[in-house]
Symmetry: C2
Amino acid sequence: MSTQPTLPLASRTADLVGSVIDSSTSLLASQTHDIVRFAMGSPAPEAIPTEALAEVGRQALGVGASDAYDYAATEGDPPLREALLETLEGTSDATTPERLTITAGGMQGLDLGFKLFVDPGDLVAVESPTYTNGSATALSYQAQLLEVPVDHEGMVVEHLREEAARTGRRPKVIYTIPTFQNPSGATMSLARRRELLELAQEWGSMVIDDDPYGMLRFAGEELPTLHELAAGSPLVFSVRTFSKIIAPGLRVGWVDADPGLGQLLINAKQAMDTCTNLPMQRLVAGFLRGGYLQEHLATQRVQYRKRKEAMQEALTEHFGDIARWTDPEGGFFLWVTFEPAIDTEALFKIALAEGVAYIPGNAFSAEGRFPDALRLCFASTPPDRIREGVRRLRAAVDRQRAEG
Amino acid sequence: MSTQPTLPLASRTADLVGSVIDSSTSLLASQTHDIVRFAMGSPAPEAIPTEALAEVGRQALGVGASDAYDYAATEGDPPLREALLETLEGTSDATTPERLTITAGGMQGLDLGFKLFVDPGDLVAVESPTYTNGSATALSYQAQLLEVPVDHEGMVVEHLREEAARTGRRPKVIYTIPTFQNPSGATMSLARRRELLELAQEWGSMVIDDDPYGMLRFAGEELPTLHELAAGSPLVFSVRTFSKIIAPGLRVGWVDADPGLGQLLINAKQAMDTCTNLPMQRLVAGFLRGGYLQEHLATQRVQYRKRKEAMQEALTEHFGDIARWTDPEGGFFLWVTFEPAIDTEALFKIALAEGVAYIPGNAFSAEGRFPDALRLCFASTPPDRIREGVRRLRAAVDRQRAEG
C-alpha cells in the first residue's frame, strides 16, 4: 500500500482487536496430526442433532418451500417467535412478544447491546477473565473496559462498588456471563445476582446478561436468571443463543429486552443484516415444535456431566501437585490455574506438538491477565479422549519444564 | 417506563432511523385481501430454486453432517470461498482469496464498510434516491449524509465536485449502487464510473460499491464493475450478495476489499456475528459447484425482461398522460415520477385498498425527497398480474384525485 492512497479508516478501527482465541484456533486449524481438542467451545460432533435437523429440514425447506428463503421480519420469523415463547414458558427465561428479537446468534445480541448503549469512552465493566470476543464488541464501539475479578460465586460485585468509589466513575454497562461462565465455569450466586441488579438500579447502568449455557446444568440447584430477577427492569438486556444447545453454525439466537427500546432495536438490527437467515429460523422452529429440544438437552446434560467428571479425575491424577481448577455445575468449560506459574501461551505450541489443544488464559483478558491459566472445554470430547488429552497436557508441561 | 430508570442509550441511537420501506412493508404484511405486490425487492416465489437447493441440502446437510453445523471461519467457509472464486473467474467481479470475506448478506457488507470507515460527523455521499436501508447503516455510525442526484447515467458525479467546491467539505465515503440502481433502475455509465474513481483517488475517499443486481442484466451492454475499474486501488470496497440471484433468506453475500484491511475486516465481522451461518454457506457452495447458478440466471434474466416490458407497456397504457418512468437494463425496479405531482405516500393507503402495493418515493431519501415518485418492483410478479396491478394503480390515482 506504500504508493497507494491511505485507507481513510474510522478511529474505532484502532480498537478493533483480534483475540488470542482466534489466533489459537487458527493455529489449531492448520494442524494435521492427532490432537485432543479442548480449545473450541463447540458442541461435540455427536451432540449435533443432525437426524432431527434433517427431518425438520425435509419438511420446512423442501421443494416448493420458496417462502422459507425470502426475507424474514427483522424481529424474527413468526413461527420461531411463537415456538420459542412457548418453549420458554415456565422457565426462568420466560418472556413476551414485545421483549423478543431473534438475532444472528448470541454475538449479534452483544453487538446490538453494545451498539445501543456504548458511546466512545464509556466505561464497560467485564468479568476478568471474560469471553474476550464479547468484550471485543464493546471495544469496537470504543468502550473503556474495567476488569472485575471472578471467584467461585461469579463476578465480585463488591469490587465494582469499590472501584467506583475509588475512581469516581461508574460503568455505563456491565457485561456478565452469570451462569457456567466462559471461561471460568463459575456461576454467579443468587446473592451476587441480587447485588448486581441493585447496583445497576442505583447507578442506572445497563446489565448485558449473556447466558448461552444456562440450559446445560448437570449438577446443583437451578438459579433464577438475571432476566427473571430483574422483573421487567429496563436495565437488563438478555442475550441468548441456540449455539450451545442445538448448533453454533445456525447463527440463531435471541435478545430479551425492555419493550421501551421498541423500534430502536429493530432499526439497529435492520442496519446490521436486514434479518436473521430464514431457513435456519424455520429449522429451529421445527426443532422446538417437534419437541426435540427437551430430549436433546436431557441427553447432553448427562454426557457433559460425565465428561466434566472424567476431566476432573484426570486432572487430579496428572496435575494434583501443580494446579487447581474450577468445578462447574454445567456448561462447557473448566479453568485451570498453575502453581507455580507456568506460561500457558508459550506452552501452547508444545502442547500442540504433544497432541492436545486449549486456550491460553491471557486470551480471556484484554489486559493479558491470567498468563498462568488455561481454559479446557470438556463438552466436545468423549471421556477416554479426555483422559488421553490431560495426560498429553502433563507431558507438555513436563517437556516445557525440562526445556526451560 | 415513567417510574423506571431511563435507558442509558448511546448517542448514536438518535440516528438509528427506521425507513418508510419498513413501515410500508409492515402495513402491507398485515393486509389479507388480494394485492399485487410491487413493493418488496424479493425474487418471485417461482424464481427461488427450491428444487436445486433441496437437492444440495440433502447432500450437504443430511444425517451425520455435523461439521456443517459448527462455527465457520470468520472469513468464510473454504468450500464456499473456493466455489465463489471459481464462479467469479473471468467476470468483472473476479477476485483473489486475500480480498474475499463471506458476509451475512449485502447488508452486513455495508455494516462492515461503514463501521470501518465512518467516524461520527463524517460526510457520506449517497445517491438521491438511494437504498435508505443502506444509508441508514451509515447513519447508525453518525454519518452526515450528502444526497447526490441520479440521472439516466447514474450518480451525477459532477454534482459531488461542485458541492465540495461550494462547501469546502469532501465526503469521506461515497456510497453507490452503480448497476440497475435501487430504486431508480439507472446504471452508472462508464464515463461516470471512471470520473467517480478519479474523484475518490483525488480525495482519498472510500467508494462503497454495492452491486446486488449486476448479474441480472437482460438488455444492453455489460459494463465493468467499479471493482474491476479500480484495478486494485484500496479505495473501493465492493459489497455483493446472493440475495437477488439465489434467495434473500440465505443471508449470504461477500465483500471484496483491499487486502491491507486484512485482520481489521475479520475482527470487525467477528464482533458482529462470529461467522456467517454455515449450513447456508454449504448450500450456496453446493449450488455453485453443481453448476446451477448460470442456468438459473439465464432463466431469470428472460423472465425479468418480460416482466419489465409488461410493466412498461401497462404504464404506457394507463399512465402515458401523467407520469414518466425509467428504462432499466436489468435488476428489479422501475422508478415512476408523476407530473403533475401526486403525493405517493398519501396514495399508498388508497392503492392498498385498490389491491396494489409499491414503495413511496420519499422512502428513498433521508431528506424525504421524491414525494411525487414511487418504486415498482417488476421482478416478482408475472406479466398478467403486472398488467392488473398497474391498472389498479391508475384506479387508485383516479380515486385520490376524485377524493382530493
